[in-house]
Symmetry: C2
Subunit: 565 residues, 2 copies
């Protein structure tokens, strides 16, 4: 019998009333607002009200450098949360809200997988409580206000060529990447070139994910820079009198969403900032709530440890003031084999036959990546636990090879079969994480906020990425100088580079050395609170393929959704 689809498994789930999930977490009913039957929003009052509750151990889930297929971080996050229950511990998982564009495009869903999913997956993947749409609305309100400002006479003297604020939609729509707006008669606005990004790439999304509360959000939105005057002064959302209305539009979206896993572990779902040009982490407020709701809070960061975990440590934890107690590094046999450089994995195509054959030597050949990512966790003072996300096509000798590499680095390691077995398959992992989290935390940021921007970039490049150094384009040098002069120099850096290599070249696998990081351009998300150096081509609006998932999504004769998984 074939392994059932994610949607089939999800549909067979026995959901617990969401009120009971909340009660188990110690969340009083007055803080909760139902959205449909299976989701609740958690009022931000929870942060203060639960301030005296015991603090959960704070566990990050990161990964080795993934293949284009991804190595199962969300699935492992969910599986680990379920695993703790089998040890008699109360865990909460915190995950990002999936972007709807890719759900309708290539992926068909992103709620974990197999027997480790957040449910109902069709809610998670589509609309949920409307937070993404609220971000879209707040972002596009500011865009309309910018163009209206130009139309009404441009009193602030915005230099039209300098406007960086684009529009967003939660859709994969390549035709919107580069557009000209304001065509037609004068009454139809000022003609200029601009474009659309996917909503996940909005600075509003990043600000929402990094905020600590509604007043802080109001201030962050006010600081958003939409462009510059002809004399080079930044023009902000506050100057356009729009930050208040944007905050009002996000009044519900700032509240985290409570759902559950297939085994009734609480799952807090909140925000989905892009991993390429933003933090790729779920929200600070979700973690500030979740950390008071059980024995373990398991939170996930996008991409490999050089990307998501580095930003989790140096951007998210810098804002939240929270220190992680352990970090899981998800590794797979297929990804480590891929890091040997002997195979080519393409999304949407079957894996090469030779990669599936038993060959622990190939695992060893790719192990440099795992070693470097273990180091990347350790340099922040956090204990790593290597989680082998087991696939049915793996061989025991290959798992043993991963174990050997990890143990040689002094790291804990566990094989986890949460995809096929749910939480019961993740108990070894949960035990290893519990042990790691008992070690005294020595968490440290990699650089102080006061360091100059160039120093921050060079610290991440040389220490985390293993680069020999950094080169800057003339444009990047000028931008860095401008940002320092404008007072943005105290912001942390969010490196925009490929997630398919620790280096900036997606073709360099393993743990590349002897290379230099090229910074092509530097942008500032002043409202979100980071500067992002661009090291490669960063796509901020995906396209649809030749056979989009949307063509398969439909309702069946019983009115049930098909084609999502």
């Amino acid at each position: 019998m074939a392994f059932p689809s994610d949607l089939e498994i999800a549909r067979g789930a026995k959901l617990k009333p969401i009120e009971d999930i909340a009660a188990d977490m110690g969340l009083p009913a007055r803080l909760l607002e139902p959205y449909g039957r299976d989701v609740m929003k958690i009022g931000l009052g929870a942060v203060d009200e639960l301030a005296d509750a015991p603090k959960a151990k704070y566990v990050l889930v990161s990964a080795i450098t993934p293949t284009p297929l991804g190595e199962g971080k969300t699935t492992t996050t969910v599986g680990l949360g379920q695993g703790f229950k089998h040890l008699g511990k109360r865990a909460t998982v915190a995950v990002r809200q999936p972007s709807m564009g890719p759900t309708l495009g290539i992926k068909g869903g992103a709620a974990g997988g197999g027997y480790s999913q957040v449910v109902p997956m069709e809610l998670l993947n589509l609309h949920l409580t409307g937070d993404m749409h609220a971000v879209t609305a707040a972002h596009n309100l500011l865009a309309a206000m910018v163009d209206n400002h130009l139309y009404q006479g441009n009193a602030l003297g915005l230099d039209v060529e300098s406007i960086t604020w684009r529009r967003v939609l939660d859709m994969n729509d390549r035709a919107l990447r580069n557009v000209v707006v304001g065509l037609g008669p004068k009454a139809d606005g000022v003609t200029r070139q601009t474009g659309f990004d996917i909503t996940a790439a909005s600075e509003v999304m990043a600000a929402l994910a990094l905020t600590t509360g509604i007043e802080d959000l109001r201030a962050r939105l006010g600081r958003i820079v939409v462009g510059y005057t002809r004399s080079g002064e930044p023009v902000t959302a506050e100057q356009l009198d729009t930050a208040g209305a944007m905050t009002v539009l996000l009044r519900e979206a700032i509240k985290p969403n409570l759902m559950q896993t297939l085994e009734n572990t609480p799952a807090i779902v909140h925000c989905g900032p892009f991993g390429n040009i933003a933090t790729g982490n779920s929200s600070v407020v979700a973690d500030l709530v979740g950390i008071r709701c059980g024995d373990y809070l398991i939170t996930e960061a996008g991409f490999g440890a050089d990307m998501g975990a580095e930003r989790f440590f140096n951007i998210k934890c810098r804002v939240s003031g929270q220190a992680p107690d352990a970090a899981v590094l998800v590794a797979t046999v297929r990804a480590l084999k891929a890091h040997s450089g002997k195979f080519r994995i393409v999304a949407g195509k079957p894996l090469p036959e030779e990669l599936l054959a038993e060959n622990p030597d190939d695992v060893h050949a790719g192990a440099a990546n795992l070693r470097k990512q273990i180091e990347n966790i350790r340099m922040h003072g956090v204990s790593p636990v290597v989680a082998v996300n087991a696939f049915p096509t793996d061989h025991p000798s290959e798992h043993a090879a991963i174990r050997e590499v990890a143990e040689a680095m002094g790291a804990r390691v566990a094989v986890s079969t949460h995809f096929s077995d749910g939480g019961a398959g993740a108990t070894e992992l949960a035990e290893a994480v519990a042990e790691a989290a008992e070690e005294p935390s020595e968490f440290q940021l990699l650089y102080p906020s006061s360091a100059p921007l160039r120093e921050k970039i060079e610290t991440v490049a040389t220490r985390v990425y293993g680069a020999d150094g950094v080169t800057y384009s003339a444009a990047a040098r000028k931008q860095l100088d401008t940002f320092e002069r404008n007072g943005f120099g105290d912001l942390p850096v969010c490196m925009a580079k490929t997630h398919l290599s620790i280096s900036s070249d997606p073709k360099l696998l393993g743990a590349p050395t002897g290379w230099t990081l090229p910074v092509r351009e530097v942008r500032a998300s002043v409202g979100a609170g980071f500067v992002y150096p661009i090291c490669g081509d960063m796509r901020t609006m995906p396209g649809l393929g030749s056979s989009p998932a949307a063509t398969r999504i439909d309702l069946d004769a019983d009115g049930e959704i098909v084609g999502l998984s």
Copy 2:
């Protein structure tokens, strides 16, 4: 003391638990899904489950031709609903969901006003349960699929120049009216000119408002025509394999939203199709539910009786199979005076002093409009009730003048002070409506579906608008022929003309005669289910003014919204 603002009044409201509102309506809990504390979605199962409940009297609220300020139809709808309670009757009101773009633009809110509002007004005006956003997503998914189809090779042979499917956003953003998409390298799509409309103007919104259930919606979406092949064949959403995913995106949006008025009268809020180019009526499913939930269902149609009511009768009732028992015509002293042609009223400017002076003769001078609109209701076999929406600046002699005009036509008439007094001010109106609704219903459609499109257009133009005839541009003639040939000839017509005159010229007040209706162009919303002849300039994407409401909307120190009213 100044009369309090709408937001102040709304904030002082004593809301009843929304579960209790539902219970009073006879809606069982299993059909309800909470969205936050004060709103519930009503499952469509209600239509079948309540099929045996006694049927409410079905009352339409329409109006004379309004001034640019509007004459208070929503407020009267809400007030009348509250008024019935004072007579010991159970009434439900059904209203449209306000569009968020104008809320952030000029209006600041559209939930009724004074002591006749739907609450919480800040939910109604912003996001609500996300239905508008779902329409935006479904609409833009189809747009992305169209452009992706071109990009992937255009297998269906779509003629790029013929594509009529634009994109939508719920925002006032004039710069998006005319855009060029697909600029840049080939990988960024096919370059072509298109534009954005406001979400309310989406055909998806019109289809959602006119559908009778999820399967019907799926079929309507499939019939949407996005453009034509080079040989002139229509290309549909079904051919692009997108109707299923669009339906899935609208699975929650199809369920009506239950709220309440300031006096705890149930208010079903659902859909907000544009009044200019679509029906401007709330949804069929809202009425199919509401008609089984009490003694009276009061539903509202946009603009004057020549516009909203005509479409209510000939499009909405044709679909729903429901026959109205009475129709309220909202009239104001200021609008009737304006119809004399002696005054100029401009939105956003104070009323002319002379218009506020006591002068029943000016009311008589504008009375032709009221007489014609009474006739427009009667020609559909429905009993009209003239509701004088009283303003503090009115004089008793002016109310008497309206009464005189209405009674001379044999119509019932009542003065209503629901704005200042709530339901207590609407009891006379409620009594008049109750009497009118007791008369045997002789409801009739104005034309059969089988009549040719030109005959339908001419029937509405001559009988409802009082035109001498219709002229067609060459383009319109060609389009009508094409639509008849493509099998769209059985659709009803939704006339797109100004709402500021019964004629197609906004400057012609009263009840113009001796004019001809010019049809410039004809479009088909095949999915929604109507053909719309365009008679004048129809704006489908509003702009922001020099001082948008968004600049005043903010949170106060207590986290409460200010600036919405």
